[in-house]
Symmetry: C2
Subunit: 413 residues, 2 copies
Amino acid sequence: MRVTDVVITPVAFRDPPLLNAVGVHQPYALRTVIEVNTADGVTGLGETYGDAPVVAGLRDLAARMPGLDVFDLAGLRRLVRQTSAAGSARSPLDGRSRAAQVLYSAFEVALLDAQGKALGRPVVDLLGGRFRDEVPYSAYLFYKWAAHPGGPEDDWGPALDAESIVAQAKRMVAEYGFTAIKLKAGVLAPRQECEAIHALADAFPGLPLRIDPNTAWSVPTSIEVSRRLAGVLEYLEDPTPGIAGMAAVAAQAEMPLATNMCVVAREHLPPAVAQRAVGVLLSDHHFWGGLRHTQQLGELCDTFGIGLSMHSNSHLGISLAAMTHVAAATEHLTYACDTHFPWKTEDVVEPGPLRFEDGSVRVPSAPGLGVTIDRDALARLHEQWRHSGIRTRDDVTPMRAVHPEWTGSLPRF
Amino acid sequence: MRVTDVVITPVAFRDPPLLNAVGVHQPYALRTVIEVNTADGVTGLGETYGDAPVVAGLRDLAARMPGLDVFDLAGLRRLVRQTSAAGSARSPLDGRSRAAQVLYSAFEVALLDAQGKALGRPVVDLLGGRFRDEVPYSAYLFYKWAAHPGGPEDDWGPALDAESIVAQAKRMVAEYGFTAIKLKAGVLAPRQECEAIHALADAFPGLPLRIDPNTAWSVPTSIEVSRRLAGVLEYLEDPTPGIAGMAAVAAQAEMPLATNMCVVAREHLPPAVAQRAVGVLLSDHHFWGGLRHTQQLGELCDTFGIGLSMHSNSHLGISLAAMTHVAAATEHLTYACDTHFPWKTEDVVEPGPLRFEDGSVRVPSAPGLGVTIDRDALARLHEQWRHSGIRTRDDVTPMRAVHPEWTGSLPRF
């Protein structure tokens, strides 16, 4: 079953003014939709980042795909290595390229979707079957403005103190049934953010809580926060930059430290293990090299006594489906996964299969990923991408437009 | 596609009097053939150890299999956990049970074979496709007697010195084309075994050489051997017992140390990594929990800078097919695999697809594992099992019958 052609469609979807340590979300978030067509008439779907260098890499790889057997993931890896753009995007973490993992993942998911559709089997079955029928996700709270500068207010309203964060949580838990809560932090002073966590603990007794300042804090500040939040957090996510910094905090903190920033590739695992820097890894198939490698990462974490959760960027329904399938097929998933889903008001897939009940998504049983492209919506979001003028995610510039002195450099506190 | 019934067939096949550190092979080696039948008329094949506790565990698990979907490997894991016999077999290494991994693996291979046959795809495709079309194996040399006590001479003749080992290697390389050579050691004095390796190096210039005394040597003896064989070995396998002992040798040896004895389960990996005890892991899907976990182990080894090769016990064609598929689908396979294949004169599969050319086996492209049961041969080897009286592998007792003072305790030198 061979690939005939690939369609790469960058899209932009409306995103609220969510705040984080480096700035504020732009009015539109970018993604790319990958459609892999085969000679059998089956189309496999993938979704990944929409930044211009990624789109260029995807297009380069897409041109090499015709003729590839959809079962030949090893062949996909060889094509990725041949893709000149594979070396173009550099990680801010260590200057090394993650592009190969990103490109491989986008197409691996699409090929697995095509395999599943051809075989009449959900992707979870191609990954070894389901360890759970429902995948739990967490409520993802953000400090936010009421509106993008010059734009209309969204219906969530502003959230710049503990009270409004609790209100945001109440709405999100009521609508989705989430049984775990994460607060994106690094926005206000650490003391205020700790107050928000304590307010959430009072409002939601027994619900696991997490805070993620995206390395906005120094080591001493991180240790101070860990003391303030002792007994309250299930984990403390990326308080400070680097494996050595995380290890220094981990040695003092009573709760496990989680990361999707200091361990983002295989070569970070040996030093992180040796330094006991990380208690929970937030996996993400988009940059860990696809669904099968995410499972392998779960096995590795289990071997080394590291918990496993799942990281999220702003995403659409294809990614949610892929996350749900791999989470169901990964036995060592020890925490509810992150998702930006509630912040999204537009999608490229038909609504239906991916509903939240009691904070969980039921694993689709339809062939492949179990989602169907809404072609009108895809066309609309592609037009939106064309007219948005946004080609790269950049949280710093829109913040600087409001606060000209803003640098976005970390740690801030 | 659901399992209707499972047939478990213990078999015994003739085995030469091969010597090792604990004794001598019995006249028959034991294996078990697993046939998983489905409602669709497809049968999946597996092969594993034939020791009585394993056969009992396989039968116990077999009774729980009807109704399982052949794609539900997660469900297989749950069934294994329910199998009371899963806790019955204890490892001599650490007293912990490996039975769960062994039982899971036997059926995982059979379910993957059934999946592949149902889908019209070779197992390698279900594992992500092939990184190589031919899987290299190594010549496996043994010191040996000319015959089992009271039995007829086999056509290999005796091998109890360097000259006869070189002759054995020449025949095996001529017949199979092997491009790597392993000597099972721990039989003669270490000095004599080093002489055999030097003789092999002279006879086969450029061919990678390995020696495996199965922990017959003390740490000082191992270090002494590593000095004698510096520049000659590609790796030194299990010279001495335990992770700490291996680490002490590894710190002094110039060649990497390999193991299939001190790291045989996930919980051994963290201490082995921390102590830098092992440079090469000899994986074995039969006790590492199946083909998919063997791939995951390869990923883990790659992450931690550990080479990967493959261990072999005396086996038949189903196991050779499974080894070949997983080796082809595991990118980080850095050495030729072990196999006892040349010592085998009987099999349960039809000859044909698994031929050695230039020391390698071409990965079968037929659906599933690509091997077919020879029903007459299976019945004959099962009858042989019934009449052999052998129910557990035991190399010590037959050696003690010849040398009453023999204990088999290690290290010997």
